[in-house]
């Protein structure tokens, strides 16, 4: 049996899909990094990312299937689900036959599971548009830390680039050591780790305190319902919320 291993990038994944057709060889898995433990009966084959090959697959999806499917694929990829790679391949394989009707076939597992992953990612993106918290740092930079389930930083950046257009900001995915950095003109995605502990300005502490005070005053005591609260806002997001830490 055979697994393909690509470098974790989206282009890497598309290259791997290109190779499947080119070599006429369907692997068991498409992995974004080598397996942790060596497997007895599985051979791992490394795929070297190739922009031209990736570009061809990208184009083909866009023109032969639809831009909507392309978006589903990208979102499913960002989910970082273990099997996302091979699921995307099977979804596409069906897509070459169905063309732009692919996303209508909701009752097919190959379509359904991609939609499910894509939906999870866009759900988390939407949540974090609200749950992200910036802190004002020395040097006039607004800094936000997050630890999302999926790799959504790039999906968040355009929203904040439009909204907080006059601020320098950093949106930092602490668990993936990634960030989107914005300089009031454009944003870039980059590897990122914090060099120092954050030093909060007095002004920042003041507004955090105001917000906490406000937040606590808003709950109506005769309606308290922590279960409902947790269902709307899962506890794993609380760590980076000023009002709850």
């Amino acid at each position: 049996m055979l697994d393909f291993v690509y470098d974790g990038s989206f282009n890497g994944l598309l290259t791997a899909i290109y190779e499947i057709y080119y070599r006429r060889q369907v692997p068991q898995q498409l992995l974004s990094s080598p397996g942790q433990t060596p497997k007895l009966f599985v051979r791992e084959e490394r795929i070297i990312t190739d922009e031209t090959k990736a570009g061809k697959v990208y184009e083909a999806i866009d023109t032969k299937i639809s831009s909507r499917s392309l978006r589903h694929i990208y979102y499913a990829y960002l989910s970082e689900h273990m099997e996302a790679g091979i699921w995307i391949y099977h979804y596409l394989h069906l897509g070459w036959k169905l063309g732009n009707k692919l996303d209508l076939l909701l009752s097919d597992e190959r379509v359904h599971r991609i939609h499910r992953l894509s939906q999870k990612v866009s759900m988390e993106r939407h949540r974090l548009l609200g749950l992200l918290r910036f802190q004002l740092l020395r040097g006039n930079i607004y800094y936000a830390a997050l630890e999302p389930d999926h790799n959504v930083v790039e999906l968040l950046a355009p929203h904040f680039a439009a909204r907080m257009a006059g601020q320098n900001w950093v949106i930092h995915d602490v668990s993936r050591d990634l960030a989107a950095v914005f300089n009031r003109k454009e944003w870039v995605a980059t590897d990122f780790t914090l060099q120092h502990r954050l030093e909060l300005l007095k002004e920042e502490e003041y507004y955090q305190q105001l917000w906490q005070e406000y937040y606590n005053s808003m709950a109506i005591s005769s309606r308290i319902n922590p279960r409902l609260q947790k269902r709307c806002m899962p506890q794993r997001y609380w760590k980076h919320l000023v009002e709850l830490s």
């Binding site: 009707k101 209508l104 076939l105 909701l106 009752s107 097919d108 597992e109 359904h112 939407h126 949540r127 548009l129 609200g130 749950l131 992200l132 918290r133 910036f134 802190q135 004002l136 607004y142 936000a144 929203h159 904040f160 439009a162 909204r163 907080m164 257009a165 006059g166 601020q167 507004y207 305190q209 105001l210 917000w211 005070e213 406000y214 937040y215 005053s217 808003m218 709950a219 109506i220 005769s222 309606r223 308290i224 319902n225 922590p226 279960r227 409902l228 609260q229 269902r231 709307c232 806002m233 919320l241 000023v242 009002e243 709850l244």
Partner: protein, 432 residues
């Protein structure tokens, strides 16, 4: 007084207004400016009672000259009082917004002097925000009954949404509990807003450059359970508001006992289940094509605890069913208990490819728990019982919540099926 203290007092006084939505407006940022608004609305956090915070909901002042007996801010209530200046409010809004705590501002106020004077202060605040602070986030502003139309019109140019709260569903309730308020004084600004919004919308259709006026429309709030008015009365009123006044939303707020008064009900906790049922019914009016008369009537003027309004309707109208999944149109699908807007759309999409059987429905994610009794797939019926009311009733009762008391919203067990995301996330209602 320091800001921290004022903020606490004025947030405390504002929290009983339940609307917090930031949807319906698409405002783009301007060069050098701050903020925009997403048309679907965004929730920023949830309080310990599970309500979403989207906007900085606050009163400019909680000093009131009125004495509405259901309200914490009434003049006879002994309560700390505070007033924020327009500048203080701007600072708060801008700094909260920059940190992404909020989508914008929901500014309301007690009537602290004449209605005109009160409205003028609100106007000053929103004007400052837009013009001096170049702020383009969402603003929801209260229109003060009794204030000059010119002031309301001026404010309407700056804000996304305006509302006048009706609060009490009947004139009689108003007379008993808020004798200083007159029905006409409440209706007047609403009518004014309705006609202006419509007129400006028409202008905007002709020219994009025409100034916007309350683009996210008008809303109102009704208190549930402060007066003996039945659900039917409330729902009829809402229906009227949607049809005649073109309101975007009617919000319902379970009466929170804040004072004792001979005319107020003597309850220990807010009627949350009732509020919830009315929200469900409101949803049916707005998105499912139901009329208030179909859901309730003089003989049954109140919703039951055991069934959601749609299931209740279905049980009384079994001759409408079963609905054939492969042929029924959208409106008909929406009448099936358990099939919501999102599910109905999915069915329409999926059956373009091939006709659907029960397994297909499951695979596309339709929950069959309630729907199975009301549908056929390719002519087959799969409910394990004959379609008769006395057989179906026991199977469709909502099982009582296990851990909570009868009015604890573990009942709010809805799928996260979405109409507007923020509504789903705030989970005041859902697919039914």
């Amino acid at each position: 007084m320091e800001i921290l203290k004022k903020l606490k007092i004025l947030a405390d006084s504002a929290k009983y207004d339940v609307s917090c939505s930031s949807s319906g407006s698409k405002r783009t940022n301007q060069p050098g400016g701050l903020g925009n608004s997403a048309s679907s609305g965004i929730c920023h956090t949830w309080t310990a009672d599970g309500r979403c915070i989207s906007l900085l909901k606050i009163l400019q002042s909680n000093n009131c000259v009125y004495n509405c007996s259901y309200c914490v801010n009434r003049v006879s209530n002994d309560l700390p009082r505070a007033t924020l200046t327009p500048d203080e409010l701007c600072e708060l809004t801008i700094n909260f917004y920059r940190r992404n705590y909020i989508e914008g501002l929901f500014l309301s106020t007690a009537i602290y002097s004449s209605p005109d004077h009160t409205m003028e202060m609100l106007l000053q605040t929103v004007k400052k925000l837009r013009e001096e602070h170049n702020f383009h986030g969402y603003i929801h502003l209260k229109a003060i009954p009794g204030a000059d139309n010119l002031l309301i019109e001026a404010a309407g140019k700056y804000v996304d949404r305006m509302s006048v709260n009706i609060e009490l569903p009947s004139e009689r309730g108003l007379r008993l509990l808020a004798p200083q308020k007159k029905r006409e004084a409440i209706i007047k600004p609403m009518t004014f807003l309705t006609s202006n919004i419509a007129a400006r919308k028409a202008e905007r259709r002709k020219s994009r450059k025409a100034p916007s006026f309350v683009p996210a429309g008008q809303t109102t709030q009704l208190i549930v359970g402060a007066t003996p008015d039945p659900d039917l009365q409330i729902l009829k009123l809402s229906e009227n508001m949607y049809k005649r006044f073109g309101l975007k939303r009617v919000y319902y707020s379970a009466y929170v006992p804040v004072s004792h008064h001979p005319h107020l009900p003597d309850i220990s906790s807010p009627p949350l289940l009732r509020e919830h049922r009315i929200y469900q019914a409101d949803w049916l009016l707005r998105f499912y094509g139901f009329q208030a008369d179909e859901l309730l009537n003089e003989k049954n003027p109140n919703f039951t605890e055991d069934y959601d309004p749609k299931t209740d309707w279905a049980l009384r109208n079994l001759d409408y069913f079963p609905v054939e999944i492969n042929r029924a149109d959208y409106e008909k699908l929406l009448r099936v208990p358990g099939i919501g807007v999102k599910s109905a759309r999915k069915i329409l999409t999926a059956r373009r490819m091939h006709s659907l059987d029960f397994d297909d429905l499951k695979r596309i994610g339709i929950t069959m728990k309630r729907a199975q009794y009301f549908i056929t797939c390719k002519g087959k019926y799969s409910g394990q019982t004959a379609m008769e009311e006395h057989l179906l009733r026991p199977r469709l009762t909502l099982s009582p919540p296990k851990t909570a008391g009868p009015e604890q919203p573990s009942l709010f067990s809805f799928s996260s099926d979405v109409i507007a995301p923020e509504d789903a996330f705030s989970s005041v209602t859902g697919e039914i």
